[in-house]
Amino acid sequence: MAETKLQVSNLNKIFSGKTKKDPDVTALRDISLSIGEAEFVVMVGPSGCGKSTLLNIIGGLETATSGSVTIEGREVTGPGADRGMVFQGYSLFPWLTVRKNVEFGLKMQGVDAGTRAKAAQEYLRLVGLEGFENALPNQLSGGMKQRVAIARTLAARPEVLLMDEPFGALDAQTRVVMQELLARVSRETKNTILFITHDIDEAILLANRIYVMSRRPGTVRAVLEVKIEGERNHNILINPEFLKLKKKIMDMLWQESQDAAMDR
């Protein structure tokens, strides 16, 4: 594996109950993972197992109860431009044009207008949105909004890209288009990516490695390498290697849901 970019060590997260009667919720238990430079890691797991919580802790939006997160050895203490995030709900700034949205991160970092405009143009081209520079987010479809959000995050030049079910709100066709787009973009930009999804096809299509989480409290249940040669596009959905891996992951998640039913 290439040089380690993101390291999560023995992370625990307990949400303490609001009142004395409320029980504490252990969302994450002893999570450790490491992601190498330019690696695309996807995390799948049952609903409520703490995936978003983990991503938010890495992003600095939430604090861990114990354990540490480091980016190239630097400990994470709060949100920062070195960890770009893309959310399911796009969260674009509706008062800014597409171009201004994409320039936002650089503007916050004090980059001059000329450089910003050039960067915006470059990243909008990368996600196939030339010609929409002056549109407002409200005028775009869901898929286009998410492209803007991706361009906006990339333009801020993060070291790691954190994506929480970014395509979860899109229809099936648009989702495939976006998956192929992201596969291409990540190869071109050589970004380090941690991506969360419910969709096993999506996970295998995008990932170099897949972390399968257990049900809550979330722990790492398995780590699987995806060794599928060639371009990552919808054609691999019928690749035998793909199907073998899919079956394996489905079995694990099915087992988790059985155990969860037993707990109840």
């Binding site: 600095g60 949100p79 709900g89």
Partner: protein, 267 residues
């Protein structure tokens, strides 16, 4: 422009037309009822003057200049009093929405003050400030400020959290988050808050002009009661109504200029 978008535009303008027609109809209905009641001799003229009488009185007051002078005094009081409550409420509400500590200190005081009837504070304002213009401004300030702070706080709190998170992970500092995200995102809601509180300011204007005033629309309405001059009362009420409509329209227009990106349902 495509055929489809042209058709959509026509549809929207038709809908606007329909709204406007309905507004005009409801207005005309009230006017008609008034005409029937007065010209038909169904109510005593002393209690309800006819439209002609009211128009005559209004024209007279406009001729001798008293209408304009009283309008101006009232508008000035409302604007100054409301302006200062907005100037203080805006930053306070914004900080309250984002800082738990500040909110803990301020909120109970404001919640308490909010329920104090402003009328009951009039004697104190007179004792402290006398009966000059400042006292009128303070009454309007008291009437609108506490409500407005809470409204601003509410509006600012309801800014999409994900948007704030997105900004922070794009490298925005706390101050930049305020300036570049929270403020613009709250603007449509803030404009609504402003529009509502300006309306309330007119209520408190009448409170302010009820005691120790010698001019203003509220004053002439109250004075007229003593002389049973219902035509003046009606004229004053209608004037306040018209000024209210104009203010409302202006703020709405301003809103569509300031936040053109914001689309409201039903508009």
């Amino acid at each position: 422009m495509t055929e489809e978008s042209k058709r959509e535009k026509v549809r929207i303008s038709r809908r606007h037309m329909a709204y406007r027609t309905m507004s005009v109809i409801s207005f005309c209905a009230i006017l008609a009822l008034w005409c029937i009641a007065t010209y038909g001799g169904m109510v005593n003229k002393i209690f309800m003057p006819s439209p002609t009488q009211v128009i005559q009185t209004t024209v007279e007051m406009a001729r001798d200049g008293s209408l304009w002078m009283n309008c101006w005094m009232s508008v000035k009081r409302v604007m100054v009093g409301w302006f200062w409550s907005a100037v203080v409420a805006l930053p306070m509400g914004m900080v309250m929405a984002r800082s738990k500590a500040f909110s803990a200190i301020i909120q109970p005081i404001i919640e308490f003050a909010r329920y104090l009837p402003v009328v009951a504070l009039v004697p104190l304002t007179i004792l402290y400030l006398g009966i000059d213009e400042t006292q009128k401004y303070v009454i309007i300030w008291l009437g609108t400020f506490f409500q407005l702070v809470l409204m601003v706080c509410d509006t600012v709190s309801s800014v999409d959290k994900n948007m704030i998170n997105a900004a922070r992970t794009l490298g925005a500092s706390r101050w930049q988050v305020y300036k570049e995200v929270i403020f613009p995102a709250s603007l449509p809601g803030l404009m609504d808050d402003f529009r509502l509180t300006i309306g309330w300011a007119w209520t408190y204007l009448v409170v302010a002009e009820m005691v120790a005033a010698s001019n203003g629309l509220g004053y002439i309405i109250l004075k007229s009661q003593r002389f049973l001059a219902t035509d003046v009362i009606f004229s004053g009420l209608i004037t306040i109504g018209i000024i209210g409509l104009i203010t409302d329209f202006t703020v709405k227009l301003l809103t569509s200029v300031i936040v053109p990106w914001h689309e409201r349902l039903g508009d």
